[in-house]
């Protein structure tokens, strides 16, 4: 196979060498994490969700690996607050890695203030976490209401110059909510966040997580995430989607691209395969595109959605 294949992609106004980045929550709140994520080979770093003030998060147990290959977590958005933003952004910039800062808030004002600080610190883009399923007042409760999503995105988009991404979760009204986010100025959508779920220890006869509920990620949610990306892309053709949800190998990444995603965020894959995950996926994508006689990854985005 002699054909040159281009795996680069343009998203959020950034030209990325390939479409794979970490999902928010996989490292990303300390400067030391930058070197680890760089060693994993991400094309951009997505930080852990930052809030205005430091948050301790939930007490342990906060995570459990499930027999079906999924991971259930309820971290509770632990982060150092905006005081920690500058150090991690500076660290990424010095290594020439674009940084997308995940921003959380319990009010429109908080979202906006954190986003402004992140832009000032040098963020390349802002991802609004409108869908955390396990932290009261900080996510899904906001992201399920189309009007609140509209207000948050409009306020943040109007306050900063860098692109804004709305990270949405699974809801019955996802098409409507996605439309509101785009209408309010979101440059892209991240679809989807973890899905609210729980695990019960059958001997203790109690929920395992201290918070009872957590967010399910990993291979079990992948078909759901593909469906959402497909539906939203179909409704708003040509929009920029960053997919997240159980992409574990080149095959599951390829599905996301075909459904309409321009980039893909990895979580479980990086936890389990670390430095091996991204090279393996890129190698698979390269061979797959060669098989299809396609020269550029850009050409497959949304291909499964042809009408």
């Amino acid at each position: 196979m002699n054909m040159e294949i281009d795996l680069s992609i343009e998203v959020l106004g950034l030209r990325l060498i390939h479409p794979l980045m970490n999902a928010s929550g996989i490292l990303g709140h300390m400067p030391e994490h930058v070197d680890i994520l760089k060693s994993y080979g991400v094309s951009a770093i997505v930080t852990k969700t930052f809030t205005l003030k430091p948050r301790e998060g939930h007490k342990e147990p906060i995570i459990v690996e499930l027999p079906n290959g999924g991971i259930l977590n309820s971290m509770g958005l632990p982060n150092p607050g905006i005081i920690g933003l500058e150090r991690i952004i500076k660290s990424a910039k010095s290594r020439n890695i674009p940084v997308i800062v995940s921003v959380g808030g319990s009010s429109i004002k908080e979202f906006s203030e954190v986003a402004i600080k992140a832009e000032e610190a040098g963020a390349n883009a802002i991802e609004l976490n409108l869908s955390c399923p396990h932290t009261k007042s900080y996510g899904l409760e906001l992201g399920q209401d189309p009007l609140i999503v509209y207000e948050v995105v409009r306020e943040v988009s109007g306050s900063i110059k860098v692109p804004v991404v709305a990270k949405l979760g699974l809801t019955d009204r996802i098409i409507e909510i996605a439309g509101k986010a785009l209408e309010a100025g979101a440059r892209a959508l991240t679809l989807i966040n973890t899905i609210k779920a729980m695990y019960i220890d059958i001997f203790a006869a109690k929920p395992f997580l201290s918070n009872i509920y957590g967010g399910l990620s990993g291979p079990p949610i992948h078909p759901i995430a593909v469906r959402v990306v497909y539906d939203v892309y179909r409704e708003y053709e040509g929009i920029e989607i960053i997919a997240a949800g159980g992409a574990i190998d080149w095959h599951s990444v390829a599905e996301f691209l075909l459904a309409g995603a321009k980039a893909v965020q990895l979580g479980t894959a990086l936890i389990l395969k670390r430095e091996k995950a991204i090279p393996e996926i890129l190698k698979g994508l390269y061979v797959w595109l060669g098989e299809l006689n396609i020269k550029s990854l850009k050409e497959v985005v949304g291909l499964a959605n042809r009408k």
Binding site: D35, E60, V64, E65, D201, L272
Partner: protein, 269 residues
């Protein structure tokens, strides 16, 4: 890939497992320590000295505990820990089941260890002694141990923790006497025969152990303590400061040279 008869992990390399341990025995050792014996619901795989589990009560708490011993055939897991707050008090109390995730820390000891070993340990590092001694015996090594206690009231009869039938010596001391003990050790006639100086503990103790290793021309191998939240390398809280290493996945042991910037070692080895 590890599996049991009713669990199927995706082929994701070495996955992680969850199980429940039924408490077979809970015993106080000395004033401040506890030894727990658990029968596991499923095999958690092969274990190496210093690897740990996340142990707790569902919905209440979860803490990292170093594995003291594991019999894979009988699925019996031993944990040894210092009783210091609500969670460890509760674990050493009259509970029936404990939740367990593990084993964590993929960097196995047998990759780096030498022939004759000096192990300097304090506090939480005592837990690894039974497994370490069993490993030492299997591999026909000699192990000398210095156990550092916070104060005299904490010192316990070590035969209650380990099988004393091994080649080597055990010295117990309190923290304030450590310098003196190390000085004696360094000047002893056998000191130049140690190929590896192994240490588990806080930053100061590890630094001393690495400096000693450098002085003696031995390999320095250390097991640091950090805060652990998730145990699987996702949250990043177990980062060893000023390094690119996560204790729960890159550890539990490191060469001194790998943590030189954390320890502030001048020679970096």
């Amino acid at each position: 890939m590890r599996s049991s008869n009713y669990i199927t992990m995706y082929d994701l390399g070495e996955g992680f497992l969850y199980t429940t341990g039924r408490v077979v025995d809970a015993q106080r050792i000395g004033q401040r320590f506890c030894r727990l014996k658990l029968r596991l619901g499923r095999d958690l795989g092969e274990v190496s000295p210093f690897q740990f589990v996340m142990a707790g009560l569902p919905g209440e708490f979860e803490i990292p505990l170093t594995v003291s011993m594991y019999n894979r055939e009988k699925l019996i897991l031993d944990l040894f820990f210092k009783v210091r707050e609500y969670s460890t008090e509760k674990l050493c109390g009259s509970i029936k089941y404990i939740s367990l995730r593990g084993f964590y820390g993929k960097n196995r000891l047998n990759l780096v260890i030498g022939d004759k070993v000096l192990y300097i340990t304090e506090d939480l590092g005592f837990s690894s002694l039974p497994l370490l001694i069993s490993w030492i015996k299997k591999n026909s090594k000699v192990l000398d141990v210095i156990m550092v206690f916070e104060n005299e009231s904490e010192i316990f009869e070590v035969a209650k923790l380990i099988d004393m039938d091994f080649s080597g010596r055990i010295v117990q001391c309190i923290r304030s006497d450590l310098e003196e003990r190390l000085d004696l050790v360094t000047k002893s006639t056998t000191s130049n025969t140690w190929k590896t100086i192994l240490a588990a503990g806080g930053r100061e103790l590890l630094k001393k152990a690495c400096e000693l290793a450098y002085e003696l021309g031995a390999e320095g191998v250390i097991a640091p303590y950090t805060r652990i939240k998730c145990g699987i390398g996702a949250c990043g809280y177990c980062i060893i400061p000023r390094t690119k290493y996560l204790l729960c996945v890159d550890g539990p042991i490191f060469k001194c040279s790998e943590l030189a910037s954390y320890l502030g070692l001048e020679h970096g080895d």
